[in-house]
């Protein structure tokens, strides 16, 4: 097995590009998401992205707010209790970002179908409603017939829809812990991350913790993302901040509201980026920005016990730095 540790800068440089179809592994809008990776994409000024989110999160909210997103496919674009995604919604309402809506169940099936490498997958949902009739790709056709065409079950004659499946260029998937080879354990809902890891042409893991492979071998049934499909591993504690990572930290509710508020206008978005996106490079700087008190507060999570079985296998920063140096070109 190959050591796949990469710095976040290298990973974004090597695995993202303008105009790509990009997925981020979010366990819904408040949970596990590779947000730090998205910020680095903003720093490296990626644009014209086609983002496929199962659910939106602060990542696509930010990417859309800075104008990096041409098109987004989504089942749910809001931030749950934290409100509508202001940055994304601003980009959608202005026409900058085209949005293609599906149900969350349909998105899950589309990832499944992508993992199977099928062009379509049957559906009973997104039929006879505006998720079928409205398409940003065919705006002049209402009701749209091309987005979700009809197929017939040959056994019963019953009608089903056919959903286009998803095969993203790259997925940046947030995981609780991974080894240096790309075997990963997720705590909390997987959401779509298992299927996404198989549907994507390239996979970058963004891991809060790096563990020894002994941990992976002790819990192989927990290892749902496998080195065999992973291209790079980024070590980035608190990568989902201000969202949550079960077992490690809660969502930072103060920053969730604040960030979303700032996404509402271009000006405030610029200000937010100046302060929270563009003025860190190292992980130390990133942590300093969040602040010690905040880190301490969000780390006191009621889910902390979920990490207990794995703590003894967590690799230290020094160890990881050494391992990372070995993969440097």
């Amino acid at each position: 097995m190959q050591n796949k540790l990469l710095s976040i800068q290298e990973a974004v440089a090597n695995y993202t590009w303008d105009g790509m179809t990009y997925c981020n592994g979010a366990a819904l809008p408040v949970g596990s998401c590779s947000i730090a990776f998205g910020k680095e994409m903003v720093k490296q000024q990626r644009k014209n992205l086609n983002v496929i989110c199962h659910c939106g999160s602060q990542q696509v909210n930010l990417l859309a707010a800075v104008g990096a997103v041409d098109r987004v496919e989504v089942g749910f674009s809001g931030l749950e209790v934290y409100g509508f995604a202001n940055g994304l919604n601003r980009a959608v309402s202005s026409g900058k970002t085209l949005i293609e809506d599906y149900s969350n169940g349909a998105m899950a099936l589309r990832f499944f179908g992508g993992a199977m490498n099928w062009p379509f997958v049957p559906t009973t949902v997104c039929r006879h409603n505006d998720q079928q009739w409205c398409s940003s790709d065919y705006p002049d056709e209402y009701p749209c017939k091309q987005k979700i065409p009809e197929i017939t079950d040959p056994f019963t004659g019953k009608k089903y829809g056919a959903l286009r499946t998803i095969r993203p260029d790259v997925a940046a998937i947030h995981v609780t812990m991974a080894d240096i080879y790309g075997n990963a354990i997720m705590l909390g809902t997987e959401w779509n991350r298992f299927e996404m890891s198989r549907a994507s042409k390239k996979v970058v893991l963004v891991a809060d913790q790096i563990v020894h492979t002994d941990c992976i071998r002790q819990y192989p049934n927990l290892v749902r993302i496998i080195s065999e499909v992973v291209d790079a591993v980024v070590y980035w504690p608190y990568a989902a901040w201000p969202q949550a990572s079960p077992g490690l930290y809660d969502s930072d509710s103060e920053h969730m509201y604040y960030m979303n508020k700032m996404m509402k206008t271009q000006e405030d978005t610029d200000e937010y980026c100046a302060q929270w996106v563009n003025n860190w490079n190292s992980h130390e700087e990133y942590m300093a920005l969040i602040g010690k008190d905040k880190i301490e507060k969000i780390s006191q999570t009621d889910t902390a016990f979920l990490m207990d079985p794995y703590r003894k296998w967590i690799r230290s920063d020094a160890e990881i730095r050494e391992l990372q140096d070995r993969t440097k070109g």
Partner: protein, 263 residues
Amino acid sequence: MEYTKQEFMAIITGREIKDGELIILGVGLSMLAGYFARFNHAPNLRPFTEGGVYGSTPVGGLPWGIECNRISANATSFTNAIDALGFLVLSGRADNAVIGAAQVDKYGNVNTTGIWDEPPWKTGKYTPPRVRLNGSGGASDISVGCKRYLIMASHEKRRFMERVDYISSVGFLTGGDSREKCGFIGGGPAAIISTLGILRPDPQTKEFYLEAYYPSTTIEEVKENTAWDLKISPDVKMVPEPTKEELKNLRAIDTTGSLRKKG
């Protein structure tokens, strides 16, 4: 005993939930209504979320999301979307659900996607909305798959419409047998619980009528706040006020008082 409209809504919705049901809950009112029901009268309720979080009871306050740590601290299982929305909801297996609505129409169709000055069904074009909302999330799946489900909505004229701007989650479409013809496995919306009363679908026409209203309002006020010509049940009732027991049980769930703040 004092209570807010939001609290009343949560309690009424909770009353619609039966013991033993396999029920999918969303954030906010949906979850509160569900956990209230479990605590109040349905101890064997089997709630889950569309993230595949099973066996949980929220801790530390109302969860920020259905995958939030507040609902992840005592789960018996975490699976995934295919499982929760596919195997349990779209399959027709789940008994019940509670969904929200930004707009709902006389046939129980729900819009949570966007607000247009001129909606696509009028213009024949899919232009960007004036106001983008959230999309359907799992509610569209629930509307298709659950045996029945409950819609919660704020009762205002701009929300209770003749026809919603965008059908995110199917209700009874254009009424009559129009839903049945689509062959969905789920039975459709069983009730709309609003901030003013309880609406039910007419068994034939599937048009929602007023079954009961809150003590704090009048039939006229309900009609005024409904954009279609709301029919009133011949034996329309006043919704029984929350009992002390119910309020106590709701507040035991809504520990941070999120429903009391909203008024």
